[in-house]
């Protein structure tokens, strides 16, 4: 385990009622990498994400982000933290009473003091960055398609140039072309902005194209590795996942592409 972990989860326990979701889970995310998180339904992928960003209080365990313990952070300290990451929720979770541009500006207004004209220009830049047409900025979320809402959600997550972005199933519900474009977008942004990406996904193609390492949630713990190392793993679920028909196809496609 390296010193350079930007997110460090140790001994995490999450439990709802009688059902234990995570049991003594350890996970490191290194600076500048794209970490994919996979697992069967109900293995707590989204719960893990929510726990790291502080939306869910774990029963036990420590979560250190940027080298600081998360629990016990309040007020201004917490706010300073929140500024350094962005979250893209499954369906974008845009504020439905605001336009896309206002959605993006809300974080900018909260955390920075950018002069209005420059703020509008940066907003337009973000809208362009995620591949939306400029006129999308004045539209309301209900007027956008699902894919556009996701892009707008990503633009909001990137509004104040965070160091980490958390993506909850970014390609779910997109058509294959849209999903591939989204993958490329994430790679691009990672390259140019030096982002660390924590990505929960079901999408094998996107997992193989985008991620540097993969964390598989099995037996209430996280097993981390690269595609190659995980393909040699003996755990039945992991074998099924990577050696099943879809897994094979995705791996074969990625080999062909290289």
């Amino acid at each position: 385990m390296t010193q350079d972990a930007i997110i460090q989860v140790r001994g995490l326990i999450n439990q709802f009622g009688q059902q234990r979701i995570h049991d003594d889970l350890d996970l490191d995310v290194e600076r500048g990498e794209v970490l994919g998180v996979v697992g069967g339904s109900g293995t707590g992928k989204s719960v893990l994400l929510r726990t790291i960003v502080g939306l869910n209080r774990p029963r036990a365990g420590s979560i250190r982000v940027f080298g600081e313990e998360m629990s016990g952070l309040t007020g201004e300290d917490l706010k300073r933290f929140l500024r350094r990451w962005g979250v893209l929720f499954q369906d974008g979770a845009l504020f439905s009473s605001l336009t896309v541009a206002q959605n993006i500006q809300i974080a900018m207004n909260e955390h920075t003091t950018v002069p209005p004209q420059l703020r509008d220009e940066i907003t337009r830049l973000k809208i362009d960055m995620v591949g939306l047409p400029l006129e999308a900025g004045s539209k309301y979320p209900s007027e956008l398609s699902g894919g556009m809402r996701k892009r707008a959600g990503l633009a909001r997550a990137l509004a104040v140039d965070p160091e980490i972005v958390f993506l909850d199933e970014p390609t779910a519900g997109l058509d294959p072309i849209g999903a591939a474009a989204f993958d490329q977008l994430i790679l691009d942004l990672k390259q140019s902005l030096g982002l660390t990406v924590f990505m929960v996904t079901h999408d094998l193609d996107s997992l193989i194209t985008v991620t540097d390492r993969i964390a598989v949630l099995v037996d209430k713990k996280a097993k981390v590795g690269t595609v190659e190392s995980l393909m040699r793993d003996n755990d039945p679920w992991i074998r099924e996942y990577f050696h099943g028909p879809r897994g094979r196809a995705a791996v074969a496609a990625s080999h062909k592409a290289h």
């Binding site: 439905s96 009473s97 950018v114 002069p115 390259q191 902005l193």
Partner: protein, 380 residues
């Protein structure tokens, strides 16, 4: 994280203007940096302008945009601008900003509209909306009436479980609040009557006042207003949320008629529960009057009942009761109609719920007034 602040300096060399930039160009520093750029950049000039970026330690997309803007502004002011010495890691960001700006020139944001025209536009739209709404409401009414008619022909098709459940929700669960309110209404009227009628020595007629007011008007009116607030709003919110979740669409694809499944049980339920609530409100309202008569006016409960029997014609009670199903129908239809009008967002659910309550209370009172006028012409 402490970081070197971003800075920009002008340092001319022979023949060309040079701007030195360095430090962190990040969004947190945009306020100071954009002012510094304004100061450093000459307002007009010619020849080469070089932006020397060797001092940059880090940059984000906002910083890249500002850096690009220096070259853009310099271009507009007559210079031939160029960024030099940029770390290759930062180049992609500048490129992005440049490409974005090129795309911006092709696209324009909507031009501002004259405020007077916008206002006129809104007034016109509002007028048309009202007409549109009346037409839609009538067609929705048609749909529900057809559905009711079919329900009468084939009663086994009516969702009887859902209907009973709605009777429980709209009727049984409303008993405490309707009872409390009706009792207080009875108390208030009795007090008012007692004070005024005492001046003429006609305290006994307080009983008549309470009886007529509660049975003919207030019992049913307050029950209906409460039901509009409690259940009409609930109808809108329930159906509206189902609309947002595409449950209504799902029903249609399975072959269920949303009007049969969602609207009919609610209308029938309300037409059962509101008359029952009205009887209950009448009784409790009279009880409220009786309590005041007994405590303040020394009219015993038996005397109250005797006086009530002579003062009140059965028709008084039936006039009140007659209105209950009408009110129930109106409240349920408006509640369901507004629910179906919900579109897309959570905000829309809230808006429609408000509209539904306001409209149904307005219509209840309006119809009550129409009843009063019509009955007085008929001499009842």
């Amino acid at each position: 994280m402490t970081s070197p602040e971003g800075w920009i300096k002008r340092s001319d060399e022979a023949g060309s203007t040079v701007l030195l930039v360095g430090g962190d160009w990040r969004i947190d520093e945009m306020a100071t940096l954009s002012r510094a750029v304004e100061r450093a950049l000459p307002s007009s000039g010619s020849g080469d302008l070089r932006v020397d970026a060797r001092g940059l330690t880090s940059i984000d997309s906002a910083g890249a945009w500002l850096l690009f803007k220096i070259t853009q502004l310099a271009g507009q002011r007559g210079y031939k601008a160029e960024i030099k010495g940029l770390d290759p890691d930062f180049e992609t960001l500048i490129e992005r900003a440049t490409q974005a700006a090129e795309r911006f020139t092709g696209q324009t944001t909507a031009p501002p509209v004259n405020p007077i025209i916008r206002e006129l536009n809104q007034i016109g739209k509002a007028v048309f909306d009202v007409f549109g709404k009346v037409v839609e409401l009538i067609s929705f009414l048609g749909l529900t009436v057809t559905s009711i008619a079919f329900g009468l022909i084939r009663p086994w098709r009516v969702q009887i479980r859902a209907t009973i459940r709605q009777v429980e929700l709209t009727g049984l669960n409303a008993l405490p609040i309707v009872g409390l309110l009706a009792f207080l209404i009875g108390v208030v009227i009795a007090f008012m009557g007692a004070v005024q009628l005492k001046k003429f020595g006609a305290e006994l007629y307080t009983v008549d006042l309470v009886g007529v007011a509660v049975l003919r008007e207030l019992g049913v009116l307050f029950a209906a207003i409460l039901v509009a607030g409690r259940s009409g709003s609930a109808f809108t919110a329930q159906i509206g949320t189902m609309k947002v979740n595409q449950e209504v669409d799902a029903m249609q694809t399975i072959g269920l008629n949303p009007v049969d499944v969602l609207v009919l049980p609610r209308i029938l339920a309300l037409m059962v529960s509101l008359p029952l609530l009205t009887i209950y409100a009448d009784l409790v309202g009279l009880a409220g009057g009786a309590v005041i008569c007994a405590t303040v006016l020394d009219i015993s409960t038996s005397a109250f009942i005797t006086q009530l029997a002579t003062a009140i014609d059965p028709s008084t009670f039936w006039i009140g009761m007659m209105k209950a199903p009408v009110f129930a129908f109106v409240i349920a239809v408006i509640g369901c109609y507004e629910g179906f009008k919900v579109s897309g967002s959570a905000e829309s659910v809230g808006q429609r719920t408000t509209t539904s309550v306001v409209e149904s209370i307005f219509l209840v009172i309006g119809i009550d007034a129409a009843f009063a006028i019509a009955l007085s012409y008929l001499g009842i």
